[in-house]
Symmetry: D2
Subunit: 184 residues, 4 copies
């Protein structure tokens, strides 16, 4: 495997390099200090949010996935971590409004800091990647379809955040692993 995967890895490198590390550290602080955390996203973004949620669970943080049967209500001191690459995902805007109205903090990962979602967030994690907001015509900038670049950047960024949080929280590999389910 070569040309195609190199092209994607190169796009991922250029994208992730442009993410503001201070915003990443602020996001980690919000996650580490939240009372309860719920993550949400749509489509393939939802998958990356879920993958991150599993690692947050391994780290011992009180995290749930929106829509799961055991997701709690959010209120003051809690955090909704939402994903909206294109910044206009209607159901995500709706969940962000609910969380805000209930007094919870809202952290958003997005490629569109001027979008509607950004206006509902307390803090942004901006990943400057192509999404379905700019994947057509002259705006198109990636060799990969729709929001694939954004989703891949989510994966890479979240793995780095897991290592940062692991260090911050003083969690060992053994402890993380012991929290992994055996029901597979």
């Amino acid at each position: 495997m070569s040309t195609l995967t190199d092209a994607l890895l190169n796009e991922l490198r250029l994208t992730v390099a442009r993410v503001d590390e201070r915003a990443v550290d602020d996001a980690c602080a919000m996650l580490a200090e939240a009372g309860r955390i719920v993550v949400c996203g749509c489509g393939r973004e939802a998958l990356q949010m879920q993958g991150f949620a599993m690692r947050l669970f391994h780290l011992g943080l009180p995290v749930s996935v929106a829509g799961d049967m055991t997701a709690p209500p959010l209120g003051a001191g809690d955090l909704l971590f939402a994903s909206s690459g294109p910044g206009e995902t209607a159901t995500i805007l709706s969940l962000m409004r609910t969380a805000r109205d209930a007094g919870a903090g809202v952290l958003l990962i997005t490629a569109q800091p001027a979008g509607s979602a950004a206006r509902l967030a307390d803090r942004l994690l901006v990943v400057p990647a192509q999404t379905m907001a700019d994947d057509r015509g002259e705006k198109r900038s990636s060799a990969f379809p729709m929001g694939s670049l954004f989703e891949g950047a989510m994966f890479v960024l979240f793995e780095a955040m897991v290592l940062k949080l692991k260090h911050r929280l003083g969690v060992t590999d053994e402890v993380m692993r012991a929290r992994h389910t055996n029901l597979e």
Copy 2:
């Protein structure tokens, strides 16, 4: 609505009436006393298990759904609550073996007390309803397709168990409701 719904409600009544109430109370005790609870099932049975899991969560019990990102490992003192109407669902048998090997208790809801699943369980909740084990030919006994009767009986039985557990645990309606997520 009349003939068809009456037919189903009548089948449900006859089915649920044949469930042993002592087995139901034993199941409630296992759930109330377990360290951690994970529920699992396949297809439409999985849905009824998930619905029950949400109410157990409302009751304050430490429950997760197998396959969710935040499902924990099970070990001694924990409980796998599995559903296998026909008693031979391969992936459920596999999860039951894993839980047993890890020292967790296994509670099974099934229509087939002589099936493979029953042999892997510590305790059975037998619902004598048609499932995909006996929905064809002479064995067929329900006007409803495949395992619908079993699944409907799960719903009815679980609601009764929620009331029993609510009483046993001394949880109020207000407390249950306050645990319901606002992220909808």
Copy 3:
């Protein structure tokens, strides 16, 4: 099992008896004639919608569950079948608006025909049951918590609709069963 399950079955009978059979037949017609069908709901209502979706799939109808990876876009000739018991579920309102704007038909199952969701629907299936819109104080009418009665009524009603659709579409038990997945 007895008092508790009888109480629930009795509530279910009284509730389902008040559903307008003509509205049920109209709903069946919409489902039978739709180009593509997507179902959606939140929490435990989502589970009942998913259970119905599996049976629609067994009947050979082109159905998907909102949020699944293989859910298609909806447009003219297609149908969104939404559930909002309390009539105000924010993310469901959002999906209903999207479907309407795209030209798709919208069928709603609800307990609140005067709610916001009802105003976005082309057709209603009204199930007069307690939901989280009226489960507290003087409005409370069920022995069961929150929306359990509505959800149970969904199950019963959907099973009746499956039999009606089976007859209408001329599908046999054998054909339905042959469409059930073996990957369990």
Copy 4:
């Protein structure tokens, strides 16, 4: 973002470079020619399988996710695409056996070509990355926890496969995008 993300991207590059491109092309051929495709995996691997399934759906292939309400049965001419990084995931082994017994083809993505899963597959896609089979002690080779490297490599590899399949099937970006759901 820098050191951590560079480390992961570098590990991903080295891993993906060692994947046999002929095996990738064979896997694409199996997917393109299958009657029906079902994907399965556990935990975070399941998420990457689901993300790939959405793109296969965009490409017009007849794909479903195991466990979804609309997943079909598999038989002769069909394909189960399973993921088992560590090669011993019990429920995945179970699904692979069911698919084989039903006459379906089985494609496996794994890091352990000598594992139990590999023996049940018709064809392998080997990704030589750390998984939970070798993430402890001297075997440990990645800076990232458990199977993160394998899961990230799945993402990168699948994106390359999407481009290969797009070319092979003659599908345009516009057609793929038009198949993306608007219900978000």
